[in-house]
């Protein structure tokens, strides 16, 4: 997978993740092109688009388009599954996720994405494991925050 892109119906970028080297200018250019291309497609059209020699697999969930760009010889159906995998995990984490959740908690979305994909390849195919890992990480966070904000409390109890 070369990059992951989440765009809203209005063309606003909600999340981007690049696994291949693209400069800033190239990134904006790519985003603009793909937005135009994908947002213009009707609902009944196929989920796969050819673009610049690559294949772009996208899926629309409510008002968000999840796009992933892959090489020409990768398996598109598999990527569609990966997209769905990602969305299901997001759903499980945020509880009925909606676009607003992703806007206000974009960093968490990134962390989840990092647990699923590294270097453009799938990392973990079990939703339970991913959820467990994220929970553990959040656990650490909370713990650290707790200590930071309530040093007295903890020192007393220790």
């Amino acid at each position: 997978i070369n990059f992951v892109l989440l765009i809203s119906r209005q063309g606003k970028v909600r999340l981007t993740k690049w696994y291949s080297p693209y400069t800033q200018k190239e990134r904006t250019k790519v985003i603009r092109e793909l937005s135009g291309l994908i947002l213009a497609r009707g609902p009944k059209l196929c989920n796969f688009v050819e673009w610049r020699g690559y294949k772009v697999v996208y899926r629309r969930y409510a008002s968000l388009y999840f796009c992933m760009c892959i090489d020409a010889d990768d398996n598109e159906l598999e990527v569609l599954e990966i997209i769905h995998h990602f969305v299901e995990i997001l759903d499980r984490y945020f509880g009925s996720v909606c676009e607003l959740d992703l806007i206000f908690n974009f960093h968490k979305a990134y962390y989840i994405l990092d647990e699923i994909l590294i270097a453009g390849e799938l990392q973990e195919s079990s939703k339970k494991n991913v959820a467990r890992l994220i929970a553990a990480q959040v656990g650490i966070l909370t713990f650290v925050e707790l200590i930071l904000e309530n040093p007295l409390f903890f020192m007393i109890n220790l």
Binding site: E78, L80, Y111, I118, V144, E145
Partner: protein, 829 residues
């Protein structure tokens, strides 16, 4: 239901956060930005926030860094420049706490890419983090590394990654494996280090690890041949076992995707098996059965199942090249797949079927495929018909069967049949004189039934025109055919109908007019009627039709005498040479596609194309009449390089060198060429007839058969001087099949300098050529410090011997010589 997020939020709010002085919380900022109604407002808010953040940075406050970073990332996503934050990222990463590190790495991955130098500074922090006891921090570091590392970083940190792959934590192992994928991609040399590790990882139970391990293996195989060998030897059984376990395992809710157990893993394993199995018969044997199992088991009405089927079919295709028999066994399953609901599966299955077809099963397969045309959807039909035509052509033992199938296909899917297929059909028809009557009648019947199909109409109309009297008089009946009564006017009717309803399609219209003309000469009684019909088209909007109708009506009216001779039966089209042309045409079109992406503007890649057999360069067409002319037999490319056009002008070079693109494709074409007449030119090793791949729309008008042949002059492409050298040597190596010597040529000649090459080759060593270069100075002043350099494409090795001297005397009084030794690594390929 309490989700993780909600729990955390509640907890945090309970701990009454005191408002921090230097800035808003992330959430508030986002809310503020979203509340802006205009772009200008938004910009103002963003600017204010950035200013606050910049002050915070310069004041070096540690507490709020991660929050500021998060804000910055949001701003970055909106599209504003945030370069000033890069150092902040680094500081965050270097901080000790987990949350800071986390945000720091996120910022790193988002704001920086691998080409920035700032990345180098991170290497040290990364190294420390990789050694951290906390597995999550290690995970963070690995993740970051895996996503954006550059080549140097990869080299530095790979020993750490290797160590981490052996750790006990599942999570770490996973990430380390994926990270190493990236490393291997960046620095293929390091592949060997990871081989053993990858193999051991395959023995794990955890699916996550397995997935990553398999990916790693795949990447390794791509990266280096040794890895491939190693993995092939050691891992085949392991891999097959994994696949078997997964597909047979009972329902496991963790990995389930709509009823299919862990499809991701299955897909990966299949891909790996494909790579491992390539070219190795034993492996394929082993894999065949498990593959069949997988294909039958996976249900196709679910997306995940489709994905697996897809990859499995791909695999089978590759496997076919090794072991065709085994795959025949699964023919039935594959045929099922052809009827599958999913388009991509169908496509793959069709290709597979195509590969499977051989003499024995051609007939039944074709029958099934033709039946299937009826229910296929439009875009698929095109592919399908093309394939069927190809199959039918290749395997038709009897003309009758061939014609039958073609008529059926035309009737059912006329739109999609391509032009050249029609022409092939016509060629065959003109050759098969005994079948002409039969074909005319069948076509006539078909025309009545399926008048709408474009190609069918064309072929039918042509036939009716040519063999009209056979139709009317029921000439040449075959056994078992029922006689039909067709009067002359019926025939004219049919053509007229065709003309009127396809008047939009120029080619068909044109053909109809011609057919009408022919009929008028064959059936003199109808010529009045024909004249009227033709006259109707005199004011046709389309120029072509108008022109024709005017010409034809004048023929009918005034040139009655010559009409019969004009409209005689067409000469029998030479089948053999036509087949030849089609073979080269298809080859060249394939190669044109392959060549196109390979050509760089410099045209330097041309010699590569010269040596490879798949890229039959598209030389000018010298047709049946041998022009013999040095009508610039050249190669055409998508970016013609007229760079050293003069070079071509230099005597003697043109025909032999330019004609050089006698790549090894000539070997393939050798047999075909011997059928067609191919006079050689100047006895040069250049075999001569290459046909351009472009077929211009052949207008099937009255004129000769030559029409079917395309004539395109390709622009002369001349590689640069040194490439000329290589082009020559590869030509000598290729055509060295017949000759061991090559006439010497003048490689370069200008007003000042002349370079001549003499070629020598050892009879037993076709890859090596020795070139003796002679430099002659044509000016009146001496050249001093004369140095000759040469560059060769990658598959050729060059060795320059020292020159005989550095000074070239003036006026050709003497010359400097130098020896070059060329070895072609791709001799004969």
């Amino acid at each position: 239901m309490d989700t993780v997020e909600k729990i955390v939020e509640d907890f945090a709010s309970d701990i009454a956060m005191s408002p921090f002085s230097s800035g808003t919380r992330l959430r508030d900022m986002i809310r503020a930005i979203r509340a802006c109604k205009t772009a200008a407002e938004e910009r103002a808010v963003v600017r204010r926030e950035c200013a606050a953040i910049r002050t915070a940075i310069s004041e070096n406050e540690p507490e709020l860094r991660h929050r500021n970073m998060a804000k910055l990332m949001f701003i970055h996503m909106l599209g504003y420049p945030t370069h000033f934050a890069q150092m902040e990222c680094l500081k965050l990463i270097a901080a000790a706490g987990y949350p800071e590190k986390r945000v720091g790495y996120l910022g790193l991955m988002l704001l920086l890419d691998e080409r920035q130098e700032v990345l180098m500074l991170v290497t040290n922090s990364l190294k420390q983090d990789l050694n951290h006891p906390n597995q999550f921090i290690v995970g963070l570091a690995l993740c970051a590394l895996g996503n954006i590392c550059s080549a140097e970083m990869a080299r530095d940190l790979s020993p750490e990654v290797e160590r981490l792959m052996r750790s006990r934590e599942v999570n770490t192992k996973k990430k380390a494996a994926l990270c190493s994928i990236r490393i291997v991609r960046k620095v293929p040399d390091l592949a060997e280090n990871f081989m053993a590790l990858a193999a051991s990882l395959l023995k794990e139970k955890h699916h996550g690890v397995l997935i990553s391990a398999i990916q790693l293996c795949t990447e390794l195989c791509n990266a280096s041949k040794d890895a491939l060998e190693y993995l092939r030897k050691n891992c085949i059984e392991g891999v097959v076992r994994i696949l078997r376990d997964v597909s047979n395992s009972s329902y496991a809710p963790e990995y389930d995707v709509s009823g299919i157990a862990d499809p991701f893993l299955q897909i990966r394993v299949l891909k790996l098996m494909r790579i491992l199995g390539q070219g190795d018969a034993d492996c394929s044997e082993y894999m065949n059965d498990i593959l069949a199992q997988v294909s039958t088991k996976t249900e196709s009405n679910k997306n995940a199942g489709n994905a697996i089927l897809y990859v499995a079919l791909n695999m089978l295709m590759r496997a076919i090249t090794v072991d065709a028999l085994a795959v025949q066994r699964h023919r039935a399953t594959i045929l099922e797949c052809v009827k599958d609901a999913d388009a991509s599966i169908r496509k793959r299955a069709l290709e597979l079927v195509f590969l499977l077809v051989n003499d024995t099963n051609a007939k039944p397969l074709t029958k099934e495929l033709i039946d299937y045309i009826n229910i296929a959807d439009p875009d698929f039909k095109g592919d399908l018909t093309a394939k069927i035509c190809a199959i039918v052509e290749k395997f038709s033992q009897e003309k009758l069967w061939y014609l039958d199938q073609m008529f059926k296909v035309l009737s059912l899917a006329g739109h999609h049949v391509k032009d050249d297929v029609c022409h092939a059909l016509i060629v065959v028809l003109s050759n098969a004189s005994e079948l002409q009557g039969y074909s005319v009648r069948s076509l006539y019947k078909a025309l009545q039934a399926y008048g709408k199909q474009g190609s069918l109409v064309r072929v039918a109309v042509w036939c009716i025109g040519e063999y009209g009297e056979m139709l009317v008089n029921n000439v040449g009946m075959l056994d078992g055919e029922e006689p039909i009564t067709v009067t002359e006017s019926d025939a004219v009717d049919a053509v007229e109908v065709a003309l009127n309803c396809h008047s939009a399609d120029v080619t068909t219209g044109a053909m109809c007019l011609v057919a009408l003309l022919k009929l008028s000469s064959r059936f003199p009684s109808t010529s009045e009627r024909v004249k009227q019909i033709v006259a109707q088209n005199k004011e046709n909007v389309v120029l072509e039709l108008q022109q024709r109708s005017i010409e034809f009506s004048s023929i009918i009216q005034r040139h009655q005498s010559i009409r019969p001779s004009l409209l005689e039966r067409m000469p029998v089209l030479d089948e053999a040479s036509y087949l030849l042309k089609r073979a080269t045409a298809t080859q060249a079109t394939i190669s044109a596609d392959k060549l196109a992406p390979a050509i760089t503007p410099g045209g330097l890649k041309l010699p590569n194309g010269v040596a490879k057999p798949t890229s039959a360069p598209l030389a000018d067409l010298l047709d049946l009449s041998s022009d013999g002319a040095l009508a610039s037999t050249t190669a055409s490319t998508t970016t013609p390089n007229d760079f050293l056009q003069d070079l071509l002008g230099i005597g003697g070079v043109s025909s032999s060198t330019a004609g050089v693109p006698s790549t090894a494709s000539t070997d393939i074409l050798m047999d075909l060429l011997s059928i067609g007449s191919s006079p050689s030119q100047n006895g040069a090793p250049v075999t001569d007839f290459h046909h351009s791949g472009q077929e211009s729309k052949p207008v099937p008008a009255v004129p000769e058969a030559i029409d079917l042949l395309a004539e395109t002059k390709a622009t002369p492409v001349v590689p640069q001087a040194m490439d000329l050298l290589d082009g020559l040597s590869s030509s000598t190596s290729v055509s060295g099949l017949e000759k061991t010597a090559h006439p010497s040529i003048t490689a370069f000649q200008s007003a000042t300098l002349k370079i001549t090459f003499d070629f020598k080759r050892q009879p037993g060593n076709p890859r090596e050529t020795t070139i003796h270069a002679t430099f002659t100075n044509l000016t009146s002043s001496t050249f001093t410090e004369f140095i000759f350099q040469a560059a060769v494409p990658k598959f050729i090795q060059l060795r320059l011997d020292p020159a005989s001297g550095n000074t070239v005397p003036a006026n050709g009084n003497g010359s400097v010589t130098q020896g070059l030794n060329i070895t072609n690594n791709q001799q004969g390929q």
